[in-house]
């Protein structure tokens, strides 16, 4: 029974006792133990009031406090009035049943919501409980994470959570970042690596130097964001709030009219009044909008939870809603679709040489250079020529390098450099977008190395998944040349791109797309498709703000990106985007199902109630049963 809180256990006990007494009374009533008239009737009322008060005392008490505080139209008030009305009309059994089932429903709602809340808080249980601080004399004390000061040396034992962001000063091993990124492969760290709070240390002992106070570290920021996410409400949630605001008073007024007007009009007021009051009470029971008020935010809360389990922070329900309606995804190229790092894409050797040789010579000449292209070539070379053999390095900035390795004289550089050096390049040079880097030996051309910023592994699949998820257009924006842009676009299956853009041009490009969508929707801003922008979040702040949803990629540990974006993808995996879209769609779908189902049942019961077909039993189902079904439906969001 540990699953229930103390309060819940108490309620459960009351419901149980009241239920037994209620059933006993029902049997007694229908088997004719009580005489129909006179004192027996009063005895029956008194006996029915026992289970009524056992189960409903809180409701009645709250009702009176509500009246004192002028909080009419609140659930307790409505339920009390409805049940008292039923007692007044002599329907003792129904009065008790309404209260009983109302409380059963309330209990179940409380339990279900508590459970979902628990599921999500568990998910977000990335907050560290303590930190081990090492003093200068080498002793270790356990402190509260809030007491960590920048510069403290913290000891992290195997299996413990890293309490704040910092740098490893001692030890190496693997840390599990899955709670933050959804990535299951542990990340290797060693002396000098940055580690992020909330990750779990693997098998080895690490010592880190704290670089941030706990309040500023990644975990605190994430927790803050998730908690605030539910306060940025979606259009759907706002609709429900507004609806609830009018629905209850409207139904109550209708109930009052229903109780008085028809019997007055019929002319037999005294004879018919009781029947109409009973119908009015039916109205009151249906008048609570609980089903919607709880289940819709619960679905969004669950959706945000599901997204964060996939390593994506959605900063508000409204953004989740927008993600479900993306028409166009605009993406930055460098660092988002591509690695953002030069790599050797291709090596071509002239006749009589092999590609390995070309790389080796080129790497030899480039060893001293810090240029990104040089770094890429050196990284690609598997068996470099020993440093000691390389002499006479001469760098011509922006053009190329010459050097000697042993007795060979090596030239590496672009076309114009080769022209000045007087080395001829054959016509059949490589034709791949990127940067061509020619290699010569002893005054003769021996090959070409193509260095390019390669598309990310899995980027192509991610783009096709995004399209499959219902995004109509994927547009790539880049500051790079047309050649590079078209080749990257082709390899990723992107058909629409803009190249050679300055940062302000990117804003313009997004605005043009927005304009086009507005025109498509007949100039309506509300109904048009939505535009999302994905970038690394660092230099994109203006573009992130003009688009409907700003998505920042690879943002783990980057405060600026987390700040600027609406949706934050913790690692740099593009495949998280279609996943979030799917989560968003499911969330919206569930909310809509709940709204349609709840409203349909309620209005149907109101109509039947007014006609006298539906009694209070049906009304209780319309209220409590619908709420429970909607909550269960919303809880599906938690299971994924």
């Amino acid at each position: 029974m540990d699953r229930f809180t103390k309060k819940q256990k108490k309620e459960l006990k009351r419901i149980g006792i009241a239920f037994v007494l209620f059933v006993a009374m029902m049997i007694a009533e229908h088997t004719g133990v009580f005489p129909e008239e006179g004192a027996g009737r009063w005895l029956m009322l008194a006996l029915y009031l026992v289970p009524y008060f056992i189960v409903g005392q809180d409701v009645v008490r709250k009702c009176f406090i509500g009246i004192k505080n002028r909080q009419l139209f609140d659930e307790s008030f409505l339920m009390t009035v409805a049940t008292v009305g039923a007692f007044g009309c002599g329907e003792f059994g129904e009065a008790v049943a309404v209260m009983l089932f109302y409380q059963i429903g309330e209990f179940f709602q409380g339990y279900a919501v508590g459970k979902s809340r628990g599921a999500i808080t568990d998910l977000m249980s990335i907050a560290p409980d303590f930190a081990n601080r090492e003093s200068e004399d080498g002793s270790v004390e356990t402190i509260d994470p809030d007491d960590i000061e920048v510069g403290d040396i913290l000891v992290i034992k195997p299996g413990e959570k890293i309490p704040t962001d910092g740098t490893v000063t001692e030890g190496s091993g693997l840390v599990n970042t899955s709670a933050l990124t959804g990535e299951s492969v542990p990340r290797p760290v060693s002396e000098g690596s940055q580690v992020i709070s909330g990750c779990i240390n693997g098998e080895s002992l690490l010592k880190i130097r704290a670089e941030k106070e706990y309040d500023d570290c990644t975990v605190s920021q994430i927790l803050e964001l998730v908690e605030e996410a539910s306060s940025k409400k979606s259009v759907t949630e706002n609709f429900i709030t507004r609806f609830a605001h009018y629905y209850t008073p409207a139904v109550v007024i209708a109930a009052v009219i229903l109780a008085f007007v028809p019997p007055l009009l019929s002319g037999h007021f005294a004879a018919e009044f009781g029947d109409w009051v009973l119908r009015a009470c039916t109205f009151l029971v249906i008048s609570c909008p609980c089903a919607l008020v709880i289940s819709v935010p619960l679905a969004f809360f669950g959706g945000i939870g599901a997204a964060s389990r996939n390593g994506v922070l959605v900063k508000g329900s409204n953004y989740l809603e927008l993600m479900a309606n993306i028409d166009t995804l605009v993406s930055d190229k460098t660092g988002t679709l591509t690695e953002g790092k030069f790599k050797v894409a291709m090596v071509e050797a002239a006749e009589g040489y092999d590609t390995n040789e070309v790389l080796r010579y080129a790497a030899a000449a480039e060893t001293g250079s810090t240029h990104p292209i040089a770094a890429a070539i050196c990284e690609a070379c598997e068996d470099p020529i020993a440093q000691s053999k390389i002499k006479d390095l001469l760098v011509t900035p922006g053009k190329g390098v010459t050097a000697s390795a042993g007795r060979e004289r090596i030239t590496v550089g672009n076309r114009s450099f080769f022209e000045t050096e007087g080395i001829e390049i054959p016509e059949a040079a490589a034709d791949i977008a990127g940067t061509d880097c020619f290699v010569g030996k002893n005054g003769k051309y021996i090959g070409t190395i193509v260095v390019a910023d390669a598309p990310k592994a899995g980027a192509k699949e991610a783009i096709s998944e995004i399209k499959k998820a219902g995004v109509k257009n994927v547009v790539m924006l880049t500051g790079d040349s047309e050649d590079v842009a078209s080749s990257v676009a082709a390899s990723l299956g992107i058909t629409d791109w803009r190249s050679g853009l300055l940062p302000q041009d990117k804003v313009k490009a997004v605005e043009e797309i927005l304009e086009r969508l507005r025109a498509q929707a007949g100039n309506g801003d509300r109904k048009r498709g939505r535009v999302a922008f994905a970038g690394d979040g660092i230099n994109d702040a203006p573009v992130l703000s003009v688009s409907d949803v700003g998505i920042a990629m690879g943002s783990l540990g980057s405060d600026a990106a987390i700040e600027a974006a609406d949706v934050v993808i913790m690692d740099d995996d593009l495949k998280r985007i279609p996943k979030v879209i799917a989560v968003a769609r499911k969330t919206l779908g569930i909310s809509k199902q709940n709204i349609v189902f709840a409203l349909f049942v309620k209005f149907l019961c109101l109509a039947l109630g007014a006609a006298g077909i539906a009694n209070m039993w049906v009304a209780v189902f319309a209220d409590v049963g619908v709420a429970v079904i909607c909550i269960l439906n919303s809880m599906r969001m938690l299971s994924r």
């Binding site: 709250k62 908690e227 539910s230 935010p297």
Partner: protein, 72 residues
Amino acid sequence: MKKKFKLIDLDCANCAAKMEEAIKKLDGVNDASVSFMTQKMMIDADDAVFDQVVQEAVKCIAKVEPDCQVVL
């Protein structure tokens, strides 16, 4: 100043919305939210009157849901 408070036994979502509405109307409050899901209340109010606003907010909450407690 902006501060968060934990709420205990906030049992109904509709009540949370009502509390939020009432607290937002208090003098000196810039923004406020009562989250049924996280069981938390956030108040953003002017520094000079902050403590007073919190007292008022606690009263608002007691009015809407008598069983609900604010952890100060």
